[in-house]
Amino acid sequence: MVARLAGDLSLAEDCAQEACAAAVAQWSRDGLPANPGGWVVAVARRRALDHLRREGARAGKEREALREWVTAEADGSAVAGDDQLALLFACCHPALDPASRVTLTLRVVCGLPAASIARLLLQSEPAVAQRIVRAKRKIRDAAIRLHVPDPRERPARLVSVLRAIYLTFTEGHSPHDASAVVRDDLCEEALRLAGGLHRLLPDEPEVTGLLALILLTSARTAARADENDALVLLADQDRSRWDQGRLAQGRSLIESALAQHRPGPYQLQAAIAACHTDAATAAGTDWRQIAALYSELLRFDPSPVIEANRAVAVAYAEGPAAGLAILDTLAASPQLTRWPQLHIARAALLAQCGRHEDAVAAYRGALALEPAGPVRRHITGQIAALGAAPTPDQET
């Protein structure tokens, strides 16, 4: 299940997490506890990392791996064009097992150290290393050739190629505690891969959709951090700092992709990102359309995490009670009980519905999952603002 959650660490969720954060911000403006902070987005982006941090010993190792990678990348020259695509298609060859394809692509095409791949895919480092060794052995012994496959073979290869690029971009977004260079390098690498794939396959709407998604999301990068490198929520971002060139390119691409009437998960996520960026102000966001797009997305990927994101959009479009009804159903599923964000989002909606005691209980539930420091501080702040203590036995 942990791997399943990590697999769903998608940009759609990123957007929705930002939306969730925006919701918290608005509730605070409406008189509920102040200072929602940047933690919701930070938590969304670093969810995988936090999982590992809870294991304690990982953090130092991870930082070490990232540092090693940053240093090593500095003197490396990048490959481009068909050579890189040939390598990408070889790494995503259907003769390799699906889990190995993404792993090998991240290792070989993107140059991620095994430790970073382990963090991203929520697997152990030895498992990742072994998978890489086995995949390389099969490429060698079975003579899987490095070439861009001919049109008949491409569709079968495309699914895992897109997935690998997508995960690369997600990785680019997540290491917020590393230097900004790291993040931008990886995002630009993913953008270059997606751009190259789109030039090769201009009529594949999912390729176009993925490129649009990366453009629309990366266009907001400059506005996402303040001068102290703290995250700025979507609702609070200075929209004039968004990269208008990328936004225009992304919008045009997603429109042309959707016009082909062959929808898929990447196009839908790009459409959601476009909805967010189309609004002149956060308040002007078309939440009804975003909620509808999440419903469509669920048809392709019926994951509880996407359902949770839909609930937030529904809360915005139809009111907190409607969103809460969805989250209540999800909270009953054992899959999500260890996902603090669900409890936090539910608590915020409960508070907005005036059910303060239930909200305190939900916040305490999130606290019991031992989230990272900033999240913990936010939760205790929210509980205090509701006039309660972090744990029942501290009540006076």
Partner: protein, 156 residues
């Protein structure tokens, strides 16, 4: 036969490749691996006893025609080394030598649902080429075709 390919290096931090004539050498984390110039693959044809058309029917005749045209295409392309259908598993005899004694038993070495019904040995530059020819074999539709590289022993 010298294959054209791309040199690629599995470096610790990533990979750089360039278009060139492949010298069958891969540097992987400081370890040099060598590939054979010629790859040979065996395509093993498996099917359940009752899968596919019934002998004597027009469909069966059509299938035989497809086998013939697939084999002809491989021969024409110069990749066909050898091929043959096999007699029924009922005709198989398994040989084991234990403590210097020859032990014979009736039937194939293992009872499995899908039976080995034939094989092709193909001389192809790479896996993708071998897989393309394997997909032309009718058994791929009625059962399955397992493609495995032949191991090439020692230097030539």
């Amino acid at each position: 036969m010298r294959r054209e390919c791309l040199v690629f290096r599995f470096l610790r931090v990533g990979c750089r490749i360039r278009g060139t004539v492949f010298d069958n050498t891969v540097t992987a984390g400081g370890e040099t691996l060598t590939w054979e110039d010629d790859m040979k693959y065996i395509a093993l044809l498996y099917g359940e006893p009752d899968s596919g058309p019934t002998p004597g029917t027009p469909d069966f005749t059509a299938m035989l025609g497809e086998f013939q045209s697939a084999t002809a295409a491989m021969a024409e392309a110069g990749v066909l080394v050898d091929s043959s259908p096999l007699q029924s598993p009922l005709t198989a005899t398994t040989v084991r030598v234990r403590d210097g004694e020859i032990q014979l038993s009736d039937g194939p070495f293992a009872e499995i649902k899908e039976q080995l019904g034939g094989y092709y040995i193909l001389d192809c530059a790479d896996l993708d080429t071998a897989l393309r020819y394997a997909a032309m074999i009718p058994s791929a539709r009625y059962g399955s075709v397992e493609v495995r590289p032949l191991m090439v022993m020692g230097p030539h």
